[in-house]
């Protein structure tokens, strides 16, 4: 683990919106095969950082390196083909499509048939391709245990299931690096435990490197290999979870001065 080459590196990334500094000189690197968490108080720039990696925002300064390649200027739609998938903090499913179709959209860059061969379906090989990918998608559906809602319109599902469908869609991209923006937000304890298990499994069994934003410190401490802490758009600590938690800057900035008061408050969420 220690010697593994970084799959993703943020190199002195700054992001400004006019006068607002969302990120200032943030650097960190994610090693291949690890679960890496970005934590920090609200407004610390965690989602901005993930948006820089997924291509929603372009950093004002600095570079994003993916597998050693500079992707700072690569359009967001081309990053899926490079091997970056993501989920969103506020659900971003295709509400009127079925769960199955939502996940199949994740296969977009892996499918080859254009609209003409698609319209011919039986003649141009579109059917064969669809069925082959359907098989692989079903494996993801099995893994996340969403077989029963396969055909339901995604917009009609309850919140916890939608989160899972979104994870399934991101997995369908076959990413080397998967970005999870608050995968456990708004979930109850049981759903959180399930989600944590899925994340560990997709890391260990599916071989995806995970970059995750999460507020639930219990989960972060339990499953992350390494953590970076942001505060007001600056990196204040990076390292193994227990190291980071012991860091005095982190205790002050993130957990507050009187940590025995804020610690239980975290659990209430």
């Amino acid at each position: 683990m220690e010697e593994a080459s970084p799959i993703l590196a943020a190199d002195h990334v700054s992001l400004r919106f006019g006068g607002v500094k969302a990120l200032t000189d943030v650097s960190f690197s994610v090693r291949r095969g690890e679960i890496f968490s970005i934590i920090g108080p609200n407004g610390a720039g965690k989602t901005s950082m993930v948006n820089c990696v997924s291509g929603r925002y372009r950093p004002t300064e600095g570079r994003i390196l993916f597998e050693g390649q500079d992707i700072t200027r690569v359009g967001p739609n081309r990053r899926a083909a490079l091997g970056i998938g993501r989920t969103f903090q506020n659900l971003a499913l295709f509400g009127h499509m079925s769960v199955l179709d939502n996940i199949m959209v994740g296969r977009h860059h892996l499918l080859k048939t254009g609209f003409l061969r698609g319209m011919l379906y039986w003649l141009g090989g579109a059917q064969t391709e669809e069925l082959a990918h359907r098989r692989e998608v079903e494996e993801i559906i099995d893994f996340l245990e969403i077989q029963h809602v396969r055909k339901a319109p995604a917009g009609t599902l309850p919140y916890g299931l939608r989160k899972r469908v979104e994870l399934a869609r991101a997995m369908a991209v076959k990413p080397k690096l998967i970005l999870l923006d608050e995968p456990m937000a708004g979930m109850n304890l049981e759903e959180k435990e399930d989600m944590a298990r899925y994340i560990v499994d997709l890391n260990e069994e599916w071989g995806m490197t995970v970059l995750m934003i999460e507020h639930d410190m219990g989960v972060v401490m339990d499953i992350s290999h390494r953590v970076v802490v942001l505060d007001f758009g600056r990196r204040i600590a990076e390292g193994r979870p227990e190291e980071v938690m012991a860091d005095p800057h982190v205790r002050r900035a993130y957990l507050g001065e009187a940590d025995e008061v804020t610690q239980p408050a975290e659990e209430v969420v």
Binding site: S54, G55, R56, G75, P76, N77, R78, R79, A80, A81, G85, R86, F88, A92, L93, F94, G95, H96, M97, D101, M104, V105, G106, R107, H108, H109, L111, K112, T113, G114, F115, R117, G118, M119, L120, Y121, A126, Q127, E130, L131, R134, R135, E138, K151, A152, P153, T156, R169, V173
Partner: protein
Amino acid sequence: MANVSLLPAGDYRTTYRADTTIFPTRNSRIALWLGLALVAASPLFFGRYELSLLINIGIMGIAALGLNILVGFTGQISIGHAAFFGVGAFASAWLHESFHIPVWACIPLAGVITAVVGLVFGAPAARLKGLYLAIATLAAQFILEDFFARARWFTGGVAGRLTEPLTLFGFAFDREETYIYVVLFFVVVMFLGAANLMRTRDGRALVAVRDHYLSAEIMGINLAYYRTLSFGIASLYAGIGGALYAHYLMFVSVEAFNILFSIQFLGMVIIGGLGSIMGSLMGAAFMVLLPEVVQSAAEALSGSAIDRLLRIGGSISYLREMAIGAAIIAFLIFEPDGLAHRWRLVKAYWKLYPYSH
């Protein structure tokens, strides 16, 4: 109720192939073949007038399906669809007359030409959304209308252009009784094409762009490409519809493809159901048959006490326009998902009857 599955209880399909059929139930397949057989046999029991209505429904249905792919499936807007319909009509007539290409080849070629024109006018769609795009397509409508009036080489100018009937192996499809088969063939091909498109990669990409373009982009979908492509496909359908229209009427006039006609296409799509393939055909049928119903209602009324009171005798044509407007408003209020949705509800009701709760 709205989400009642129309499948029989239990899912007994064991292959992914069986799970991806367009018509999922046996009853729907029977209904399909029955419908096709009825239309194919219609010259036996329908007069020319009824057949002309059927032909119109088919032609309008193809063009409306194109607009539905653009508006209903991709979430774009176009108020210039009739202009593209016109491009197809003139292109087919022009191809036949200038290059002596047989008409059966002119119709698909006219579709391709219209698709190219649509891609050009659809280019702003890569960047514009909503009202701004609506105005850009409005510009396309007026530019093309003006082009029709001026480009004598293409349209015959204000005099219009005569067209030839479709002939195949020396057999001329020049009457309603025969032309209905041409239209039926194209309806089947174009509707199957759309249904296939929507269950494959690019169709899903179009719907993804409509539902959540930000996450679509993250999933690897090139937004500009698909927004423009959707205009191309919509124009392809409009062009083929227009070409069929030209070789049916045997005369294409410049004034036919005005903005009112464009709005009618939008009406068909809204009434039929945005984002529904069969809905496009239902909407077209509604729009073609509504004036007939209003007409006969007005004729039944003429001379009656109401007629004497309101003096509608001379204003039947206004009544028709009003009925179309009223129908669109009524659908927007009471059935925004269109006839296709209403039809699903009816089917679901009968599936559960009499235990609907």
